[in-house]
C-alpha cells in the first residue's frame, strides 16, 4: 500500500506491507533512535510523537499512520539538548538503551505539564522501563533541570 507520512518535517512516500509496524518503517527511513525493546507493548522504548501525542510505534501500523505527522528523537534534538545533560550529570544511565524512549516521553511530559511534581513525573514516565537504573537518577536529573530553568526565569 502507498503511504505518505511526514517524518520529522520531511514527507516520505513509500509502498509498504499492511502489517509493517511504524517502528520498522521509521528505522527503514533512518530513524535509528526508535527501537523495539519488548514483545508485550510494555517498555516504552519505541515512543514517538504521532500528531504531537506520544505513542508506542511498535503497536501502530504504518498504514494507520498514513497522512499523519511523526516526530522521533532525531527531530527533537534542540528540545532534548536542554535537559539531557542534567540526567547525565546524575550518572542516571548505564547502558543507555532505554534513553531514546525516555527522552521523547520526557519531552511529552514537559510540553503537557511544564511544572510537574515528582509524583506527576513518575506517573508520566512509568511506562518507560529501564533495566539498569532505579529511576531515581532520572528523576533527580529532571528535577535539577526544572530548578535550573526556573532559576533562570527569575
Amino acid at each position: 500500500m502507498e503511504v505518505k507520512i511526514n517524518v520529522n518535517g520531511r514527507v516520505i512516500t513509500d509502498s509498504v506491507d499492511a502489517d509493517m509496524l511504524l517502528l520498522d518503517f521509521l528505522r527503514k527511513h533512518g530513524c535509528y533512535s526508535v527501537k523495539c525493546g519488548c514483545e508485550t507493548t510494555n517498555c516504552g522504548l519505541c515512543t514517538v510523537f504521532m500528531d504531537d501525542i506520544p505513542v508506542l510505534s511498535c503497536s501502530v501500523l504504518t498504514v494507520r499512520a498514513n497522512g499523519h505527522k511523526i516526530v522521533t528523537l532525531e527531530g527533537l534534538q534542540d528540545e532534548a539538548k536542554e535537559f539531557i545533560g542534567f540526567i547525565a550529570d546524575q550518572g542516571a544511565e548505564q547502558c543507555g538503551f532505554c534513553n531514546p524512549g525516555f527522552i521523547v516521553n520526557t519531552i511529552a511530559l514537559l510540553r503537557e505539564n511544564p511544572n510537574p511534581t515528582d509524583d506527576e513525573i513518575r506517573a508520566y514516565l512509568v511506562g518507560n522501563l529501564c533495566r539498569c537504573s532505579g529511576y531515581n537518577g532520572q528523576l533527580r536529573g529532571i528535577r535539577a533541570f526544572l530548578d535550573y530553568r526556573d532559576s533562570r526565569k527569575e
Binding site: T41, V55, R64, A108
Partner: protein, 263 residues
C-alpha cells in the same frame, strides 16, 4: 508477530460490519492487545475514519465512541467530575501514558478481559453498549455474551445520580490487577462490581437492602461479606482464590465507606 494481508479504512459502519463477517477478518482498536496475539488476519478493519474518537456529553448521558483512547477517558473533565475521578483511577495504572494514548475503549470493552479495570468501573454505572447490528444493550449483558462479529460503536453512560469509589489491588503499579473493585450507588441502588476475580467483572446488587437504612461501619461490613460470598474467585499466578475473596471483602467494605462519605 501479527500477520495482516489487507488493511481497510472502513468508510461506514455497514462496510465495517460486512467485512467483519468473515472469520479471518478483524476490527482493530488500538492494536495493543492484538499485537500480542500473533494472529494471521486477512482483512484488518480500521474504524479510524468514522469519527468514533470523541466523548459527547449531554444533560442526560455520555456517549463514548469506540475509538476513544484510555487517555481521553482519563483526562475528560466531565466524565471524571461525574465519577468522582473513578474513571481516571481505573485507567491510570494501565501500563503507561503512551500505551493509554493507543488503547481504545472499544477494544477494552469488546475484549471483556477478565483483568479489565475498564469493564469493572463502567459496570458500576448505568452503562450500555451500542452494537451496530445488536443495538443498545446493558454492559452487564454484553459482558456475559459470547464473542461474535458485531461492531462495537460506542458506550453510553446514563447520568443517573451517582456515588462511586474505585480501588484495585496490584502487586506492582503497572501490572494487571489482582482484584478490581468499584462500589456505587446508582439512582438509589447500591452495587459492587468485582473484576480480575480473575474472570470478567460481575455485579452484585444489594438486593437484601443491607444498606437501605444508611451506611455505617456495620452495614458496610455486612454488605462486603455478602458481596465476597456472592462472587466466584479463582487462583492464578497473581493470587489465590482465597486471597481474592478476602480482597473482595476488604475493598468492598472500604469502597462502601467511601461512598457513604459522598452521600
Amino acid at each position: 508477530m501479527l500477520t495482516i494481508k489487507n488493511y481497510v479504512r472502513a468508510q461506514s459502519l455497514d462496510e465495517a460490519y460486512e467485512l467483519n463477517q468473515k472469520k479471518t477478518a478483524c476490527i482493530m482498536g488500538g492494536m495493543m492487545w492484538l499485537r500480542m496475539t500473533g494472529r494471521t488476519i486477512m482483512t484488518m478493519i480500521d474504524l479510524c475514519d468514522l469519527g468514533l474518537n470523541k466523548i459527547d456529553e449531554t444533560e442526560t448521558e455520555f456517549s463514548i465512541g469506540a475509538m476513544v483512547t484510555l487517555r481521553q477517558l482519563e483526562t475528560h473533565p466531565g466524565l471524571n467530575a461525574y465519577t468522582n475521578n473513578c474513571v481516571k483511577k481505573a485507567v491510570q495504572d494501565i501500563v503507561g501514558v503512551q500505551f493509554r494514548n493507543g488503547a481504545t475503549v472499544g477494544g477494552s470493552i469488546y475484549g471483556r478481559f477478565g483483568f479489565s479495570d475498564v469493564v469493572t468501573v463502567f459496570q458500576a454505572m448505568d452503562t450500555y453498549v451500542e452494537l451496530h447490528k445488536g443495538g443498545i444493550i446493558p454492559l452487564a449483558q454484553f459482558a456475559k455474551m459470547k464473542y461474535d462479529s458485531d461492531v462495537l460503536v460506542r458506550i453510553i453512560v446514563k447520568k443517573q445520580p451517582l456515588a462511586i469509589s474505585y480501588q484495585a489491588m496490584r502487586i506492582q503499579r503497572t501490572d494487571f490487577p489482582v482484584l478490581a473493585c468499584a462500589v456505587s450507588k446508582v439512582d438509589g441502588e447500591y452495587r459492587a462490581a468485582i473484576g480480575a476475580r480473575p474472570g470478567v467483572a460481575v455485579v452484585v446488587k444489594d438486593t437484601e437492602g443491607i444498606l437501605t437504612g444508611g451506611i455505617t461501619p456495620e452495614t458496610a461490613e455486612k454488605f462486603a461479606v455478602a458481596v465476597a460470598a456472592a462472587v466466584k474467585t479463582d487462583s492464578n499466578s497473581r493470587g489465590s482464590a482465597q486471597y481474592r475473596t478476602h480482597l473482595a471483602k476488604v475493598l468492598t467494605q472500604r469502597g462502601t465507606m467511601e461512598i457513604g462519605g459522598q452521600l
